[in-house]
Amino acid sequence: MIELILFIIVAAVAIFGALTVVFARNPVYGAMGLMMTLFSLAVFYVVHLAHLVAAVQVIVYAGAVMTLFLFVIMMIGVDRDEDNTEKLPMQRQFVGALGLVIVLVAGIAAVGGRFDWVRPAASTVEANGTVQEVGKLLFTEWILPFEATSLLLIIAAAGAIALAYFGPRRRDREDA
């Protein structure tokens, strides 16, 4: 019961945050909305006993990524009179139609009582998201993907530095 109440509150907050991201005129409010959604997701992870994922969600996304977003928004400066004329040819209509189809399918599923399409995972192992369990899995079974991901991040960082330092416009920047 408590879980349901918590879910309804937090889900409402998450959806509100997501809508803010889309509809806010001011990018700073959009960023705050995104942060709200990320926090709500962290609460969901806690409810599902994935404590490590919840903490990492807050540290990495809310703490680091969103701070950088805000940093960039503030550095570039917020221009409130943005040009809002439509430049996309068909996308808006297409997305609208697709959304309608999804709502229809979901509605039919709900009315037809066919939600057993979506089943819980087949394994009966109790979910355990403690740091110890996640660490064991990461460093035994998934060590190769884990290390490959870290390599990917290093390459991305090195690439960003290379682009910034050794790009063709280097001379311009030094003169400026």
Binding site: H51, A55, G63, A64, T67, M74, T130
Partner: protein, 379 residues
């Protein structure tokens, strides 16, 4: 879960809120007094004996002052920023253990009262999460004020927090790694457990070769706190902690000579008081965490043969507060004696000195821990 359990939990949470609040009252007064002494002044001495009620008087004054709201602010975020500063500050103390706790037979059952707001199994990560969220208050206050100096302060705050969080995290990882070898249970991220593992003395864990066994008597006198094996991590942690809380010499966020008041230039009255409270609560939290990670938390002489039970119960709380006060004194000492860093010096120190040093120390700790656990690779 009956009435008494609920009451106990509520009491713990309320205490976890009240302890930093009361500590801040003394901290602000103490800072002004110590600063005054170090610069050969008298300091506050009017409100109460030795001016000890000065903070209360200041707080009341700020509470009743007018809140000036400049015309160009983004009001929603402008009003939210002080609240966002306070929430992480008080949430952090929730996971810090401040005493051993006691058992009490009441309501027909023996119940345990732990001296910690909530013993999370991810306590350390929770603390890191809260400290990384705390920067939002500065950023948003700076941006929403609609003024130049606060914006500069806010941008500086973001860059500074991101830079020093990394070094702090790496220093803590080294401590966690070391703590994982001090128990057969493996690693832990709970602050309560980290304190438990620092109890006792060094002769319980270190076994020396025959010729040196006399030295074990000396080791028997030294408490098993992490400060000894992890001293470099402590230094890195402390520097990063001062930078994280935006205290001098890292107070570029609110550098008076350059930025008026920095991010809180446009704030007045109680909103300013909230920023002030958050900053000092963060200082207290950082000191408390330094004590928990490196100085054995509430560990200390118990004197349980000589003192009555009630004092023995609350003695750990006294040791904890005493050690925290000692670390806070260092904080104030640094502020009173060191000039502020220039911005490029701050970035150099963070990225080119602290983070590499923390990485090297982490690798060194890893090697030591692995050798202790698995032996030399060629043996």
């Amino acid at each position: 879960m009956d009435f008494w359990d609920v009451l106990f939990v509520a009491a713990r949470v309320v205490l976890a809120f009240v302890i930093p609040l009361v500590a801040v009252i003394f901290l602000v007064w103490g800072e002004r007094k110590i600063n005054a002494d170090m610069t050969n002044r008298i300091g506050p001495n009017r409100a109460g004996p030795w001016g000890i009620l000065q903070t209360v008087a200041d707080g009341l004054k700020l509470f009743f002052k007018e809140q000036v709201t400049p015309r160009k602010v983004e009001f929603l975020l402008y009003a939210a920023a002080p609240i966002l500063a306070l929430i992480p500050a008080f949430m952090t103390f929730l996971v810090i253990p401040w005493g051993e706790g006691f058992t009490w037979e009441i309501g027909g059952k023996v119940r345990e009262f732990a001296f910690v707001g909530a013993d999370l199994n991810i306590g350390v990560l929770f603390f890191l999460a809260m400290s990384s969220v705390a920067v939002y208050a500065i950023v948003l206050a700076g941006w929403s004020s609609g003024s130049k100096y606060p914006l500069l302060g806010g941008i500086r705050g973001t860059a500074q927090a991101i830079s020093y969080e990394a070094a702090m995290g790496l220093a803590i990882v080294a401590v966690i790694l070391f703590a994982s070898t001090t128990s057969t249970d493996g690693g832990t991220l709970s602050f309560v457990e980290l304190v438990e593992r620092q109890r006792g003395t060094w002769d319980e864990v270190v076994s020396l070769p025959g010729g040196l066994s006399w030295f074990e008597n000396v080791l028997g006198l030294i408490p098993r706190w992490n400060i000894l094996p992890q001293f470099i991590a402590f230094v890195i942690f402390m520097i990063a902690a001062v930078a994280e809380t935006n205290r001098a010499p890292f107070d570029l966020v609110e550098a008076e000579q350059e930025l008026v008041g920095g991010f809180h230039t446009e704030y007045s009255g109680f909103r300013f008081a909230m920023f002030f409270l958050a900053e000092y609560t963060n200082m207290f939290n950082m000191s408390a965490i330094a004590v928990v990670l490196f100085f054995g938390g509430w560990d200390g002489p118990t004197f349980d043969q000589w003192l009555p039970g009630i004092i023995v119960t609350f003695l750990p709380l006294f040791w904890f507060l005493l050690k925290t006060a000692a670390v806070l004194f260092v904080y104030i000492w640094i502020r009173a004696t060191w000039p502020r860093l220039r911005y490029d010096q701050l970035m150099n120190l963070g990225w080119k000195r602290l983070i590499p040093a923390a990485l090297v120390w982490l690798i060194a700790s890893t090697v030591v821990v692995s050798v202790r656990q698995f032996g030399w690779p060629w043996a």
